[in-house]
Amino acid sequence: MSAYLSREPISVDALIAQAATPECGGTCLFLGTVRNGPAESGVAAIEYTAYDDMAEAELQRIVADARERWPGARIALRHRLGRVAVGEPSIAIVAAAPHRAQAFEACRYVIEEVKHRLPVWKKELRADGTEVWVDPSGHPTAGPPVRSLYA
């Protein structure tokens, strides 16, 4: 589909190998996983939809921004679309760098930007057959949202 979006399960090993080089002594991986904790009781899966072309462009911009801030860092990333079951990763971000501080910081930067900028939406698929859109705070949403980050 693209460099960053994928409808297939994510291979962590392949993603780490993609970022690794002999110059990089520190690698930081972040995995975001579909939860089924107390606040998500009854969730069987999350259906991820995106504004595909924009999400791909936005991910390219985020990775380019990170490379500019941490020039030694190498970044690999995969974001799932479609149905992702509880316990499966929906996103994996790898930042490999000569030193660990850069790896941690670049990885953290990318996930924070993804959370704020990426045009992706989640619908909870519940064990009882109901479906509900999830707002960015992670809670099921009732009425239409009224705020815009950019307006």
């Binding site: 504004y51 462009a57 045009p119 939406w121 239409p144 980050l149 307006a151």
Partner: protein
Amino acid sequence: MTVRFFARYAELVGREEAAVFVALPATVADVVRRVREELPGARQLPERPLAAVNLKHVKLDARVGDGDEVAFLPPVAGG
């Protein structure tokens, strides 16, 4: 120009895409107003939605022109 709706907004409007005509020069805010007037269901969209033009986040005072792709986005939640 082409206007696209995503996720819950597509459900509210009942469609994912519409061709919309606005008098130029125009801003994204003008497109929002026109969409809310013309499309059934679109009144349920917020008056100041998150918007993108040609695959980039923009503010509502951003200029739009013929051939642009304008998108209205529910609050984003990547990751």
